[in-house]
Symmetry: C2
Subunit: 805 residues, 2 copies
């Protein structure tokens, strides 16, 4: 048995973390500048720490409360193991740790980038992208390390490290789902709370600072200015990081769950060189190699000329990105060939068992890698500077704020058209290729280069901050010019990164959804049952209400900030004269508390609804777990479909408004006239941008978490509902074997077996071919591994074995 | 046989139309005023006629094209009869006729209302509501008359007026679906085209008139002013009328389809006094009696005091409304008791046949009547003047247009919460009571008082126009005061009417959806099949894109109007001086053409997508009609769920913005200060209203048509996909009867029969009880009516009859 492959992802993760450590110390060893530069940077760093401290305090309470709830569930429900609590705590811890590392490095890199820009553009890119690389590798490394280690531990604990049965592996993976749930819960805090934080600080700082006190943006005299800068890191760095960390873990987990069911469809045991769990190891292996190729990709991101423009910088990023994607593609091919049986059997609804060659799984990964890129391009088309849709919004600004807002809304809405069609095509085709295992592997392949994607994403806000510091510390204009080039590229990567994040969240949710259905053992989700249809409606509504709550939260949290800034201006004399230092920490604290308070209601909505549906279902239908599972499934589908739509709509509308406003900075031609900043059209565009801000930075990105967390909660609840699918003591199994022997060279055995679980019969058929001796051997193995396999709690009584051999 | 009941709805419809004719001549005999009043009113009337003329021209082409397409389908598909084309043409014709009548009476009543307001408020109410009554009764009367007559004709044609089998009745109802499709197609033109028309004319008139030329609103010198006034009638009167006409017909049809399947579940034949089709007749009977009770309701709408205020007027409308609803409730009880067997058998998915008492069907109608009212109240809460959500938007206006827009969007989004929960509860509970037949009857009961609802709805824009005429013709201020009271009440009824329209569209779509599933004979719609899930996504996207297209269309159509008005000002000298008459008809024509042109793309989207899905499905899955039917079903569910959400969101956001702006007219307190028209906050509120205008008058209401038409197209396509469910020559039927005779007084026969259609077996069971002689008689009848019934094309070969009697 070549079970060493199980440890390969861990090795890759450790390599990634080691490379991260090297890169980190290199970045930290860069010159951090002097005087005012350093002072501002320190304030931001302290603010970030203050945010993290406050967040961790709340998180600790949350994790304890959730752990108690999970422990209670594991005591009541026999199929849920107490170890899920441990997995949950570690998932939360790893995700928080990754966020912590990312935030710290981002807030340390910004000033070093400014300093590097004083020497040359290539150096500035190297430093800022270096910071992004640390963030990306930290997230990906910790995710793979945590998930794989936990899998190995649980595999040892429940199955002694050897394959027994699909049912036992289900227990392993159900427990592992706790890790994913922990990670995604932290993402709720980071993404939703962070989204509220960043916009509240932004709006609060602007309202009192720019409007009331008449001081410029980023002025150190504004008590909220540090909170504002911290917010950029909280939202764009930590929020995005936690989001992708969650997607990454959930995708791999879902693919493992579906891999387990591939083994089940193949008769319950697999004769491969990897302990019979090749299909389960594949997604982890792809993730592991993805880290390696991301490292290679990041090393290729460099420019030589100091006179490079946006195009060259973007080109350097693209080279790195495409190389890592290309290498991942090759590794997918090799790993699929290596880890999967050449032909698998998979059960398709209504079509029965089908023979699926491993190449079809590879094609599914190709679809996944393609979809990520295509969705990013579509996002770029609808939101990029100078694109047709954005220019159309600019034109509409000339007739006022109303028409600008309508045009932005319409752009966001229309952008759902190509995006959803691509999704639908991806779901359909990857399913047609290799069932839901194909869908999950498409998602896994897409997420494999998460480290690279995050490096590119995080580089943007670092460059943005670097530009701010250059401005505030009154550097030579050339410095600002250089950081502006990086910032401009960063804006593009931010837009495409959002597209990638939605695509990953959508595919992850689908994979989780599929895992949920197999976990509960239901035959599908029939929306022609009225209770299921009703829940589809309710699920569709939740993302809409969630978005509205998030938007309103920004308003409320911003008002808290306004009151605090006004108080400081009044109570601390000398702030405006620059003789007294404002209480930055207090503003950071206000913003943090308001953000975390305001995310409670959306959070409760997310977590509460699935639980309420199960309780209501239990109340009405008592023991009809099948129907309750379908209701919850209907709800999950509603949340996913509606959530994906609202994410695309809000992100793209927000992005389009933002760049429509930015278009005025360089000047745009409206009705044949050049129009600039300060014009009426520009003012109209600012209104649109104000509407778009919470869309693109708060409610839109929150959708990712909402849909993933909903599906994850469903997955964790699944064992409660799916009890009937796991064989219990006293359940019956009927087996009938027909064997035809033509001659000693050619024999065939057809095994028909029915498993009766709680009165529900499921029939399976398996065919063995070969020489008579081979067939006999296969039959023996099959009998041992599948028919008789059962652990202590799940003894299966075999009533009748009639094997004519 | 008491088959006279079949003609009762026709009699009721004729009574309704007769009452309408009387009311119409009474309204037309009212004094139409003099001089300027009459002149303005004539222009509006002429404009309306011009619109109708242009619309009918296009409609004729559309109806011919669609008829050819339908005829082609009926030639290719053996289960679709050519008579569907006739039904389609008549459905379109009846709907257009109803719209024509409504538009004409509305544009004749407005000036008469102004004139009546010169004498007294009670008289003004009587006239304006009289016009509304004519509209309401015209729509309801024609709908019931057309549908019932066609049903009787088709019933005679296909079944010689006597029950044969569910399969034959399916042919009748499938053909009748053509009538509903015709009606809903016209609604597409009226609601979507009308919605674009009204806002394009409004915006176009304002942009050139108020902004560029500086002349007041409704100034006769503005060439677009008549188009603007015509638009009010096109959108609010004709659009709403066509919408409800379509809902009304579709709901009753869907309930009839499901009634047919109740009979099937009961063994294929019913021994009642109504030719065995009681469950099919029930929805028509409820609709018929609803007309009668609406007449009674309208007669109660009157006020006595000339000093009455909004409250009294609203009270008078409420009295009429509640009385008609109350009477409908009683009639539902009586009709259910009278027409339905005391106990029915209905098949529930996964639960098998259940005994359902007729009282449970009555409870379902109670739910329907309640839901209509509750949704209207929720709409009123989120959009009414002085309500908490609207006041919150007013407050947010003080910080600018951006925050006003965000607050309005958030209000619309949050309003989906209670609305969707009510929907979900209604679906679930009415299904739990009486299956999808219960859901369809809930919808039928809600729609029964359509005449009354429309009377209340149409009264609003009439009063609005009357006020405009009073202003333009410089009447005594008391006249305007009186029409203002009516107008203000009209604004409230407009909001609640929109709530009613969404609720009706949603329930109608669900009923159609259920009818679709039974028509295709599929076992449900399993969204765990990836192609079905993919279509759920695509379906969810369509309403979003449709809305965006409609919004953009308003912008484009408005620009057409702007160019035309500018041209007239330039090319026709003397307009501004009042010496030359502007070419009103040209503007009406421009607006009409632009509206009808712009609605093409959304229309194609609506009609094209279901067809494309079927074609694509056929291409990929060839003969797997079951899967293709599920894919189309998934698409329909996606459109319905997403469409309902976007309808609520857009209507309520638009309504809330509108009233937030109107709040400034009387003055509102913001941060302790009274704020009025012309303030910055008011300007911000105007921006919100500009965004909300297309939301609430164009894209929002269009959702109703989109979801209904999608489900109707599905229903018409169903026979193509459901061919396997209709018995064909050579199909087999197995029958087994067990009869236990205890003594001559007590015998029981259990008939178990299996129908094998295209290899798919479906088992049925029917129990007869009574004396031995009675049971024998029942068995004979059952054998004759159900087992041996088959028309020429669908001969069923009975392999084995083993009746031990």
């Amino acid at each position: 048995m070549d079970s060493i492959i199980m440890y390969v992802p861990i090795i890759m993760a450790l390599i990634g973390l080691a490379f991260m450590a090297v890169k980190r110390s290199w970045v930290l060893n860069q010159n951090a500048g002097d005087g005012k530069m350093k002072e501002i940077s320190d304030y931001i760093y302290e603010g970030a720490l203050a945010f993290l401290k406050a967040e961790y305090k709340l998180l600790t309470f949350f994790v304890i409360a959730a752990s108690i709830a999970l422990a209670a569930v594991s005591f009541i429900v026999p199929t849920t193991h107490i170890l899920i609590v441990v997995a949950f705590v570690f998932g939360a811890f790893f995700s928080a740790l990754a966020g912590n590392m990312g935030m710290k490095i981002a807030t340390k890199t910004n000033v070093r980038t400014t300093q590097a820009a004083r020497t040359s553009l290539p150096q500035a890119l190297k430093v800022s992208f270096g910071g992004g690389t640390v963030m990306g590798l930290g997230v990906a490394g910790l995710a793979v390390l945590g998930l794989t280690s936990f899998f190995i531990l649980l595999f040892q604990y429940f199955m002694n490290g050897t394959w027994t049965s699909t049912e036992d592996m289900t227990i392993v993976l159900e427990t592992l789902a706790g890790f994913s749930l922990g990670a995604e819960s932290i993402a709720l805090f980071a993404r939703v709370g962070g989204g509220i934080y960043t916009k509240a600080a932004d709006v609060g700082a602007d309202l009192v600072g720019k409007v009331e006190a008449g001081i410029p943006e980023d002025d150190p005299r504004n008590p909220a200015t540090i909170a504002d800068n911290v917010g950029d890191n909280v939202g764009d760095v930590a929020g995005m990081g936690a989001d992708l960390f969650g997607s990454y873990v959930a995708t791999v987990l879902a693919a493992m769950v579906l891999g387990n069911y591939v083994i089940k469809d193949m008769g319950g045991a697999l004769d491969d060189n990897f302990g019979g769990i090749g299909p389960i190891l594949l997604p982890m292996a792809i993730a592991g190699f993805g880290i390696l190729f991301s490292i290679i990709g990041t090393m290729l991101v460099k420019i030589k000329s100091n006179d490079a423009k946006e195009k060259q910088v973007q080109g350097a990023l693209n080279v790195g990105n495409w190389v890592s994607i290309g290498l991942t593609l090759i590794s997918c091919f090799v790993l699929v060939k290596y880890l999967l049986p050449e032909t698998m059997q998979m059960e398709f609804f209504g079509e029965g068992l089908k023979d699926i060659s491993s190449m079809r799984v590879f094609y599914a990964t190709v679809i996944g890698l393609t979809v990520g890129g295509v969705i990013s391009s579509i996002t770029e088309y609808y939101t990029g500077l100078g694109t047709k849709p954005v220019l159309a919004i600019v034109q509409k600004s000339s007739t006022g704020a109303g028409t600008n807002v309508i045009a932005g809304l319409a752009t966001g809405m229309i952008s759902t058209f190509p995006t959803v069609l691509i999704f639908a095509a991806a779901i359909w085709s990857s399913y047609a290729l290799a069932g839901f295992y194909g869908v999950a592997l498409a998602a896994s392949a897409m997420m494999a280069t998460t480290a690279m994607q995050l490096a590119i994403d995080a580089f943007g806000p670092i460059a943005d901050n670097a530009g701010g510091i250059a401005e505030m510390s009154e550097q030579d204009p050339i410095v600002r010019e250089r950081t502006d080039i990086l910032d401009s590229v960063g804006n593009t990567t931010a837009a495409t990164g959002k597209g990638f994040a939605i695509a990953s969240a959508a595919l992850t949710s689908l994979a989780l959804f599929a895992a949920y259905v197999t976990f509960t053992g239901i035959d599908g989700i029939n929306i022609f049952k009225a209770p299921v249809l009703a829940m589809l409606f309710v699920g569709g509504m939740v993302p809409v209400v969630f978005s509205a709550l998030a938007m309103n939260s920004v308003g409320k949290a911003a008002m808290d900030m306004v009151y605090e800034v006004r108080r400081q201006f009044k109570e601390i004399p000398g702030i405006m004269e620059g003789t007294a230092k404002p209480d930055y920490a207090k503003c950071v604290d206000i913003s943090t508390k308001a953000a975390l308070r305001e995310m409670m209601l959306p959070g409760v909505l997310t977590i509460g609804f699935p639980i309420a549906i199960v309780l209501l279902g239990k109340l009405v239908y008592n023991e009809d777990n099948q129907l309750i599972a379908e209701m919850l499934g209907g709800y999950m589908a509603g949340v996913t479909v509606s959530g994906v739509l609202w994410a695309i709509f809000q992100n793209n509308a927000g992005g389009a408004w933002d760049n429509a406003k930015k278009s005025f900075e360089a000047g745009v031609e409206i009705n044949g006239e050049m129009t600039y900043k300060g014009s009426d059209a520009h003012k109209a565009a600012i209104t649109g941008d104000t509407v778009g801000d919470p869309f693109k930075d708060t409610s839109g990105p929150s959708m990712n978490i909402l849909i993933k967390l909903t599906c994850l909660i469903g997955l964790v609840i699944a064992p409660i509902l799916g009890g009937h699918a796991i064989p219990q003591k006293g359940d019956k199994k009927e087996v009938k074997v027909e064997m035809k022997v033509q001659n000693s060279e050619k024999a065939e055995a057809i095994v028909t077996y029915t498993i009766v679980v709680d009165g529900v019969k499921k029939s399976h058929e398996k065919v063995f071919e070969g020489t008579k001796a081979e067939v006999k051997a296969q039959l023996d193995a099959f009998e041992k591994n599948t028919l008789n396999s059962a652990n202590e709690n799940q003894k299966i009584v075999i009533e009748k074995i009639d094997i004519n051999k």
